[in-house]
Amino acid sequence: MSQSYNRGLIEDFGRWREFEAGMWAWIFHKFTGWVLIGYLFTHIAVLSTGIPAAGASEAAIMAGEDVYTQTIVSLEGLLLVRILEVGLLAVAVFHMLNGTRLLLTDLGIGLGAQDKSFYASLILTGAITVASVPTFIAGAF
C-alpha cells in the first residue's frame, strides 16, 4: 500500500558545517542551475535585438551597423562582460560535469565513488575554465 507523508523541510542550510561532498554537489548544482536559467532569459533578451536588426538595410547589415551587431560589439567591448562570460563557462561546465555524475548515479554507476567524482568535477571545471580564459578574453584589451 502506498503512503504519502509530509517530509517537511529537509534542506536546512543552517547545518552547512555538517555537509559532506554529496550535499555540496547538490547545492552547487542548484546554484549553477539558477544562474543558467537566469542567463537563458537574459540571453534571449539580448538576442532579441536581432528582430529590429532584420529590418535594417542590406548595406547596414553588411557594414555591421545594425542594432544587433552594435549591441554585441558594445557588450563584448566591456571587460566586465568578458569576465562574466568566463564565470558563465565555469558555471555551465560544472553543471554539465556534475549533471553527468548525477545521470550515472541514477543508473547506479559509481555510487561508491560519488564523493570522488564530485571532487573530479570541481577540478576539471577549474582546469577547463582556466584553459579557456585566453580565448574568452581575446580582443578585450
Binding site: 500500500m1 502506498s2 517537511g8 523541510l9 529537509i10 534542506e11 542548484k30 542551475g33 539558477w34 543558467l36 536559467i37 537563458l40 532569459f41 534571449i44 533578451a45 538576442l47 532579441s48 536581432g50 528582430i51 536588426a53 532584420a54 535594417a56 547589415i61 553588411m62 555591421g64 545594425d66 544587433y68 551587431t69 554585441i72 560589439v73 563584448e76 567591448g77 568578458r82 562570460e85 563557462l89 555551465a92 554539465m96 549533471g99 553527468t100 548525477l102 545521470l103 541514477d106 579557456s132 580565448t135 574568452f136 581575446a138 580582443g139 578585450a140
Partner: protein, 123 residues
Amino acid sequence: MAERYSSFQKGGRMWFLQRVTAVFLLVVLAFHFFLLHFVHHADEVSFLASQGRMESLSYYSLMVTFLVTATFHGVNGVYNALVNQGLTGTKRTVIKWTLVAASVVLIAQGIRTANAWAGIGLY
C-alpha cells in the same frame, strides 16, 4: 491489494524528461559553447554571421530544439528546487503556472528571434 507501479505517472514522467533533456543539453550546450566561443570568437559576432548559420534548416531546428529543451530543463529544475524547499498549496499552484507562462513567453520570443534571422516572415 495489487497495485500497478510504473514510471509513467505524472511525477515519473517529469523526472524522466528532466534526464532526457539533460543528455540532449550536455551535447548541444557543449557544441554551442565550442562553436560560438572557440571556432568563432565573441568579438567576431555579427548579425550577418548569425543569419548565415540560421538560414540552414538543420542549425535553425537544432537551436529551436535547444531553446525548448533548455527552457523545460531549467524551469522544471527551478520548480523542483522550490518544491524541495517546501513549496506547497496555493503558492505552489501560482508559482507553477507563473513558470509555465514565463516559459511560453521565452520560447515564443526565442522563436521570433530565430525566425528574424532565418528570414522566416513570422516574427
